[in-house]
Amino acid sequence: MEKRVKFKGILLPLLLVLPQLLVTAVFFFYPAGQAIWQSLFIPDPFGLSMRYVGLGNFEFLLSDPYYRASFVTTAVFSLLVTLVSMGVALYLAVLADRLIKGSGTYRTLLIWPYAVAPAVAGVLWLFMFNTRVGVVTWYLGLLGYDWNHVLNESEAMGLVVIASAWGRISYNFLFFLAGLQAIPRSVIEAAAIDGAHFWTRFRTIVFPLLSPTTFFLLVVNIVYAFFETFGVIHTITSGGPQQATTTLVYKVFADGFVGQDLGSSAAQSVILLVVVGALTIVQFKFIERRVHY
């Protein structure tokens, strides 16, 4: 798509794109190039010189059981966050959609946790499940369950998943509700006249018609779980116990800043670049499809 009417001039448009180009070059292209370059070297123990190792960093990473484990951790974590937040959101959106009056009120009540930062959400859930003072921990103790996410790996994973999914429900709810309200009433009423009950209608009509929204949210939520949950993990578990909650992004941080292993961290950045690229392509393919819908 192009505009028919264009202004003349060469210097002015170049000046107009310059600020964005500069910021992008300095804080995006240069660092990204730097990451690719550094991923080919290993610094000596004193940080004085760099030794070229080719793809050595990558070979080492891919054979490193900890790195492979963090791939699995990231996949499990992202999948769980996506399923929990989308599941709860869909359930609430279906309920709100059944109301003729009042769905707006519930929307207002449900959307604002979107504004709560992941790191703050992490602190809130950490407080509830704190091993010493947590309310939920204490009541679980009454029931005879000894909660300790500091030592127990699956409890740690469960806690970061629920804290990450919690803030995300708002966003999914908003899109699901909009998607549900866009489904023509006549289709649903026709099915109702044919005697289809609520669950049948949902399974055979509503959910299939909702699939563009669902697929879109699936991609967006996986991207969210990949990159924007660092705050949750850092505040609640710091990647532990035994690296059970160390996702790929967390590991870039842990190896690069805490471990000062620059070559490995750069190689991890490059691998993430590839992952992000793949996700972007999926997203764009999908957006094209959505236009046709």
């Binding site: 794109v17 930062a117 959400a121 010493r132 006249i193 992000v276």
Partner: protein, 296 residues
Amino acid sequence: MTAPQTSPAARRRPPPDGMVERRGRAYWLTHLGLIIGVAFIFFPIWLAFVASTVSQPEIVRPPMPLLPGDQFFANYREALFSGINAPVALMLLNSGIMAIGIAVGKIVISLLSAFAIVYFNFPLRRLFFWLIFLTLMLPVEVRIVPTYEVAANFGMLNSYSGLIFPLIASATATFLFRQFFMTVPDELAEAARVDGAKPMRFFWDILLPMSRTNIAALFVILFIYGWNQYLWPLLITTDPSMNTIVMGIKQMFPSGDDTANWPVIMATSILAMIPPVIVVISMQRLFIRGLVDSEK
């Protein structure tokens, strides 16, 4: 979404008002389900609020109370004006400057470059377009180490420019404005040109006023994005007086085995969510529009 009544008696009734025939169990179950959902969403925040109004001994002897206590003013005063590493009032200011800086900065550079890309033919236009396009989805999390080095070389550690500039290098806003400019009728630019208006005059007097709603919607989204940043401020600010509130909370936990000062930490958490929550609720319409727009 209700099954129509089919019995003759029902048909003779006046048309049902809304979900009249559902004002039975199902109707209340729907509300009940939603209320449980809302309660689940609210509970962590309610607990944080309660914890911010009681004293430390009440928290460390579990179970803590579930209703607010009388230490509200004492806790918030302590948090705001002395804090643990730095006064929270100062961290709020830092967060505000960062969030507004990111939102305004992104909007300004994106408006300008989208204007150039849509309304001009200049050499390398396609190339610029694709260069910007490439940045679309690469979050700062992925390239933190080299970006940190760049910022350090520029002497941007512990500075507002270090907090702001690396985060405005992204293309979402550019795309939004590009798409919007595409929908602006050609006749407007044509008329401006016939009247002899310079491009920048067209931009100021016509394009900018027309983009007002888009700008506002985007501002809401970017403000929240900026306010909620965590990893980048964590790296770039080592001086507590430059901490933003969202990253500063974690720094308030003692290292080692000491007990955290929960009332002050929870008061800080509440303070950290108030500004973005107010923005979302007071500008709900713009917020929803911004969300939908930025995903198109």
